[in-house]
Symmetry: D2
């Protein structure tokens, strides 16, 4: 029976997987998914990974003005996704520092890897770099060690 909640994905052994459907809006006239659309997919994956750790980013933002900001990405587009495809966004923490978090992300269609990325996000508040909140750090440490 179909769920009546948005897909939130699953977290196992430190790896989060979010299922997504490709829609018209994601494609371009070349017939496949527009290259920048994958960055929206990856950001949805990171958001659901953080949510799966039990962290509410809207609460963090309301309390301390804390937000994650993308600082650096390296992205390899390997194969194109197409309209109506079911794809999966895989998110795995690689390294946790005082004010930053490095993640490995992949886009898959079944067993096929469509895209690989390394993403460095940093914490900011009021436009300045800040240490990640303590509770968030603890949960990320647990997730990071689970995956290694």
């Amino acid at each position: 029976m179909p769920t009546t909640d948005p897909a939130a994905g699953t977290l196992h052994d430190g790896v989060h997987a979010l299922p997504l459907r490709v829609y018209y809006e994601d494609t371009d006239f070349s017939g496949v998914v527009y290259h920048a659309s994958y960055l929206r997919f990856l950001e949805r994956g990171r958001t659901e990974f953080i949510r799966a750790l039990g962290i509410d980013q809207a609460d963090l933002h309301a309390a301390d003005g804390f937000a994650f900001v993308v600082r650096r990405m390296t992205i390899d587009w390997l194969r194109p996704a197409r309209m109506d495809d079911c794809i999966s966004i895989e998110t795995r923490p690689l390294a946790l520092k005082g004010a930053s978090l490095e993640l490995a992300q992949r886009v898959l269609r079944g067993g096929e890897v469509l895209l690989e990325a390394t993403v460095l996000v940093v914490g900011v508040a009021g436009g300045r770099p800040v240490r990640l909140p303590a509770d968030l750090r603890r949960r990320l440490e647990t997730a990071t060690s689970a995956g290694s």
Copy 2:
């Protein structure tokens, strides 16, 4: 237990409901969802409504070059959605003609109506208006009468 499929929504009594999550990409600097993002949400709702009728749009396009094109919309933005909101896209067929389909769509957050729209889509193939394929018409007729 969380599903490992993308949310596809449910179809009851001729009304389709698709649950969606609001992400960073959907918002703008005013703090709420960007007005044009709702049109992407409505299009996802229409796509899943058609899929719930058992119609594969990619197949139709591959076979006859058939596609739906939006011809006319009237949209009322009533209340804003925000980052992290769970919303629902409601899609209900209103009227079916030879080459066109009129739908009523709403965006809801719980019981609150955020947006109402009337949408006229027409069938095209090779850039010209065409009658809707017979099988698609039959399934839409059933859905349309179920909702009245």
Copy 3:
């Protein structure tokens, strides 16, 4: 000689025209411009129309928290735009009330009308409807009467 400024368009007799180029990002796999992309184009046209009146929306927002919000649109998609097309966004004020402004907008390619829209925007501050700032009203009145 090519300009080194972004295109800002021109305002003559109360009608503003903003030239735009269609890029990959605006299209979808059907080969033409995605229907919701036109709403982004229309919003760019309204923004440059207001700027051409000598109003800085960022200043208004910083000073009083004032912002325009789209309340209602009626849109007719007449002909598709394609990758690499040069199009023009035409914006013309129709009616000015205490807290709202109605505009007629069109998308053209040369002399061909691709889209027609009527747009109702309202002023808000802190999430509530507010009267339009006096200076903005005066300039809109002048522009509205110029076009009639």
Copy 4:
């Protein structure tokens, strides 16, 4: 006097610069430009760079099914752009091989560098890697040597 053409930018000494305005659509609720929006800006810069070389990508696509596809990017987000900012997209060819082109791109606001990227694009036709068309290669070689 304002131009009535879309901004196409300028090409000097092998470096192309495209001026752009930041609109509502480009921002997110954190108040600054959404990280993936910069990839749309970079793609506009590459498109206008190729057009400035005298190459019509739509013609290439129509003739041989040729298209550029992004294969790899490394991106550093250094400082945020904001609503209403005038920014410039700088595009400079780095290396030209049989079937690929590497470019350096930057986003600037005045003299401030907001983003730096290295982009590898490859030529494809019918979904397969192909050599770049001869005329395109010649023009890219000239531009690449002009910048070194």
